[in-house]
C-alpha cells in the first residue's frame, strides 16, 4: 500500500505522522512518501467553523500532553498568556474552556489599551513552526518515510507511479491540482522584531476590518511577530511598504513599549483561506485506475490551531479506506 502525502507544511507533515503512527504496525506494507517544498504558531482558535471546535480541542489537548516532555522545547512548544481586545462587549468564545485560565479583563488591565473597552485574558500554547516542522520531519525520517522535493503536477501522475492513496495537503495552491474556486489566498504580512521584554500576546479585534486585519503582537521564543494584515484574493508575496507602515504604526500605538524594538525581518505569506476546511475523501478514476484522495487543506489563518485534530480526522478517513480494501480488519486504535 503506497501512500503519498503532497505538501510539507504543518498540515502535510502532521497528517503524515498521524497516519504513519496509527497504521504502520497494522499495515506492514505501508510505504509513505512526502512531496513538498513552506508559518506562525500561536494556537489561538478561529471564531467560527463547524468541526473546528473539536479539532481545536484535540490539538490543544494533544500539545498540552507534550508540554512537560523533554521534546517540548525541540518542538517549539510553550505556554504563553495574553490579551484579546475588543471595542465593545462580545460573548465568550466557544474555546473558552479549551484554553487555560480564560477570563474577561479587569478595568485596570483595560487601562493598558486605550481605545479598547472589553477583552479576554487566557493562557494558550505557542507552537513555533520553525522548530515544529523540522521536529515532524525528523520523526517521519526516523520512521522511514521518504521525502521528495519535487513539484507534483497532477494526482494522475501519482497514481501512474503506483500510489494507492494521495493525501492532499497542498494548502493555498491546491487549486493547481484540482480547481477550487472556494480556495483563495488570504495575504498576510508580518514584521519580526527583537523585543524580549514583551511576554504576552496581544490580539485586537475590529468587527469592521475583519479578523487578522487588526493589529496583533505575538512573542516567539526569540523574536516577536507584529501583524495585522489580511487581504483576500491577493497573491502577491512581496512585502508592501504600505502594509509595513500600517503594521508598525498600529502595533506601536497598541504597545508603546515596542517603539524601541529592533526590526529584524519582514515576511509575507498566503493563508489558504476557504469558507470551511476541505477535509474529505474523493475517489478518482483514471482509465481503469481507481485511487483515493484525502483532501486536507484550506485552514486559513488557523492551521496550527487545529492541525492535529485535522490530522486525526484524515487518519480516520484513511482507516475507512483500509477497511474497504480489507487491509485492516479491526477498528483502528486511537492514539
Amino acid at each position: 500500500m503506497r501512500v503519498a502525502v503532497i505538501g510539507a507544511g504543518v498540515i502535510g507533515l502532521s497528517t503524515a505522522l498521524c497516519i504513519h503512527e496509527q497504521y504502520h504496525s497494522l499495515v506492514p506494507s505501508l510505504e509513505m512518501e512526502l512531496a513538498g517544498h513552506s508559518s506562525m504558531g500561536l494556537a489561538e482558535p478561529p471564531l467560527s467553523c463547524f468541526h473546528c471546535r473539536l479539532w481545536n480541542k484535540e490539538t490543544f489537548d494533544y500539545l498540552l500532553g507534550h508540554l512537560g516532555s523533554p521534546a517540548a522545547t525541540e518542538m517549539g512548544l510553550f505556554l504563553i498568556s495574553g490579551y484579546n481586545l475588543f471595542t465593545q462587549p462580545v460573548p465568550d468564545p466557544s474555546w473558552k474552556n479549551i484554553v487555560l485560565g480564560f477570563r474577561t479583563l479587569t478595568p485596570k488591565e483595560l487601562e493598558l489599551f486605550p481605545g479598547y473597552s472589553y477583552g479576554w485574558f487566557n493562557t494558550a500554547l505557542m507552537l513555533e513552526c520553525r522548530s515544529y516542522l523540522p521536529w515532524l520531519t525528523n520523526r517521519l525520517t526516523q520512521r522511514g518515510v521518504k521525502f521528495f522535493h519535487t513539484k507534483v503536477e497532477s494526482f494522475q501522475e501519482m497514481f501512474a507511479q503506483g500510489v494507492d492513496v494521495v493525501i492532499n495537503c497542498t494548502g493555498v495552491r491546491a487549486g493547481e491540482l484540482q480547481p477550487d474556486p472556494e480556495l483563495q489566498p488570504g495575504r498576510g504580512q508580518i514584521i519580526k522584531v527583537l523585543a524580549p521584554w514583551v511576554k504576552h500576546f496581544v490580539i485586537t479585534h475590529d468587527i469592521k476590518s475583519g479578523i487578522y486585519n487588526s493589529p496583533y503582537v505575538i512573542p516567539g521564543s526569540e523574536l516577536t511577530v507584529l501583524g495585522g494584515i489580511y487581504q483576500h484574493g491577493n497573491w502577491n508575496e512581496e512585502n508592501s511598504a504600505r502594509d509595513h507602515k500600517t503594521i508598525w504604526e498600529n502595533c506601536c500605538r497598541l504597545l508603546p513599549a515596542l517603539q524601541k524594538a529592533k526590526i529584524v525581518e519582514e515576511w509575507s505569506g498566503l493563508r489558504p483561506a476557504r469558507p470551511w476546511v476541505r477535509l474529505e475523501r474523493e475517489t478518482l478514476r483514471h482509465g481503469h485506475f481507481q485511487a483515493e484522495v484525502i483532501h486536507n487543506y484550506g485552514h486559513g489563518g488557523f492551521g496550527i490551531t487545529i492541525h492535529w485534530g485535522c490530522a486525526m480526522a484524515a487518519a480516520r478517513l484513511f482507516g475507512s479506506i483500509l477497511q474497504e480494501k480489507k487491509l485492516a480488519s479491526s477498528p483502528q486504535p486511537r492514539l
Binding site: L67, G68, S69, P70, A72, T73, E74, G76, F78, L79, I80, S81, L100, G101, R103, L105, T106, K108, E109, L112, F121, T123, M126, A195, P196, W197, V198, K199, H200, P219, S221, E222, L255, P256, A257, Q259, K260, A261
Partner: protein, 341 residues
C-alpha cells in the same frame, strides 16, 4: 539655606530611587549619591526584581500596601511607555502554587496586582504536586537596566554620583546638610544596626527564552522569574549567612527544584550563578535621626532593611524618605533663621 546639600549613601534600587525622589520633590536641593558599589555589583543586581511583596512583621499592613501600590502604579506607567525596554520594566503573568492551601487565601496585595484569581483545575494539572494556586499579572524590574536607567535620570537632573566607601555617616557632616542612609546590608556596619541581618540568596540566571510565565512556589523558596534576557531561578533563604560565594551543591538543588516546576528548564543554557544578601529586618527602618557630636547636629534619614521586598516597595519608601528629607531641611532652615534673630 541656599541649596541644601543632600548625600544619599547607597546606589542599589533604594539609594537611586530615593535620590531621584529627593531631586523631584526638592529641585533646589543639590543631591549626591555616594556608594562603594554601583550596578552591576549591588545586591539589587542579583534580585529578580519581581513585584510580589514581602510581608514585614513589624510594619502596619496598610503602610506596606500603600508603598506597594505607589510602586506598582509608578512602574505600570513606565511599562506601557516607550521607555519600558530601556528601564527594564515589563509585565509578566504567572502562577503562585501551594502544596497545601495557605491559611490566608487573599494576600494584602491581591487587589494591587492585575487579574488576581484562584487557578482553575485545568491550570493546576500542570503542577501535580500542588493542590492550590493563584494566577495574576505583575511587573518585573530587570537589573542592571533599571538601575542604569535610574542613574541616567539622576544625571539628567544634575545629581552627582561618586564611588566612595563611607565608613561613618558623621564623616559627611561638614560637606552635606542631610544624609540619607540607603546602605542596605551595609547599614549593619555603617550604623551598627544589630536588628539588621543578611538572608543569603543564591540564584541562577539562565537562557530559556521560551519561558514566558512566572512560577512561584507559595513558600517563596522556589521560583522561576522570566526577565528580558534571562530567567532567574531561585533560591535560598539562609539567615545570618554572609557568604557571597556561590555554592555548587545549592546550584544543583535550585535547578532541580525549578525543573520539577517547569520541566522544559532542563534545556536551559548558559547558567550564571549569583549571590545576594537580602538586607533583612522586622520592619523597614524609615525614620529620621539626628546625630549629635560636640553640639553639632547632623540630620539623617534612614531608608534600609527592605529584605526580600525592596523592589516591591522601593518607590513608596523613596517618596516617604524624600518627605522626611524635606522635614529635615525645613527644620534646618527654621533653626538657621532663628539663629539670625
Amino acid at each position: 539655606m541656599a541649596a541644601p546639600k543632600v548625600a544619599v549613601v547607597g546606589a542599589g534600587v533604594i539609594g537611586l530611587s530615593t535620590a531621584l525622589c529627593i531631586a523631584e520633590t526638592c529641585p533646589s536641593c543639590s543631591v549626591t549619591v555616594l556608594s562603594d558599589q554601583f550596578s552591576p555589583n549591588t545586591t539589587s543586581d542579583v534580585a529578580a526584581g519581581m513585584l510580589i511583596p514581602h510581608t514585614y512583621p513589624g510594619t502596619p499592613i496598610h503602610v506596606q500596601k500603600q508603598w506597594f501600590k505607589e510602586t506598582f502604579t509608578y512602574l505600570f506607567a513606565i511599562s506601557n511607555s516607550a521607555e519600558a525596554s530601556e528601564a527594564g520594566i515589563h509585565l509578566v503573568s504567572g502562577w503562585q502554587v501551594f502544596k497545601n492551601t495557605p491559611k490566608e487565601e487573599l494576600p494584602f496585595w491581591s487587589d494591587v496586582v492585575l487579574g488576581f484569581r484562584p487557578m482553575s483545575e485545568a491550570e493546576l494539572q500542570k503542577f501535580p504536586q500542588h493542590r492550590f494556586g493563584q494566577a495574576f499579572t505583575t511587573l518585573k524590574c530587570d537589573c542592571p537596566p533599571y538601575l542604569l536607567w535610574l542613574e541616567k535620570r539622576l544625571k539628567a537632573t544634575g545629581v552627582q554620583m561618586y564611588t566612595r566607601k563611607v565608613a561613618d555617616l558623621w564623616e559627611l557632616h561638614s560637606e552635606y546638610n542631610v544624609v540619607v542612609n540607603c546602605a542596605g546590608i551595609g547599614a549593619h556596619q555603617l550604623v551598627g544596626d544589630e536588628k539588621l541581618f543578611p538572608v543569603r540568596g543564591q540564584v541562577l540566571k539562565v537562557h530559556a527564552p521560551w519561558v514566558k510565565n512566572f512560577i512561584r512556589d507559595g513558600g517563596g523558596l522556589t521560583y522561576i522569574y522570566p526577565g528580558i534576557h534571562r530567567v532567574t531561578l531561585g533560591g535560598t533563604r539562609e539567615k545570618e549567612s554572609w557568604s557571597l560565594t556561590p555554592d555548587p551543591g545549592t546550584t544543583k538543588d535550585i535547578f532541580d527544584r525549578c525543573c520539577s516546576l517547569e520541566p522544559s528548564l532542563r534545556g536551559a543554557q548558559d547558567v550564571k550563578v549569583k549571590v545576594g544578601l537580602r538586607p533583612s529586618r522586622r520592619s523597614v527602618r524609615l525614620q529620621r535621626e539626628v546625630l549629635s557630636r560636640g553640639g553639632v547636629k547632623f540630620p539623617v534619614v534612614h531608608n534600609y532593611g527592605h529584605g526580600a521586598g525592596g523592589f516591591s516597595v522601593h518607590r513608596g519608601t523613596a517618596k516617604e524618605a524624600a518627605r522626611l528629607v524635606g522635614e529635615c531641611i525645613a527644620t534646618l532652615q527654621g533653626s538657621s533663621s532663628r539663629a539670625k534673630l
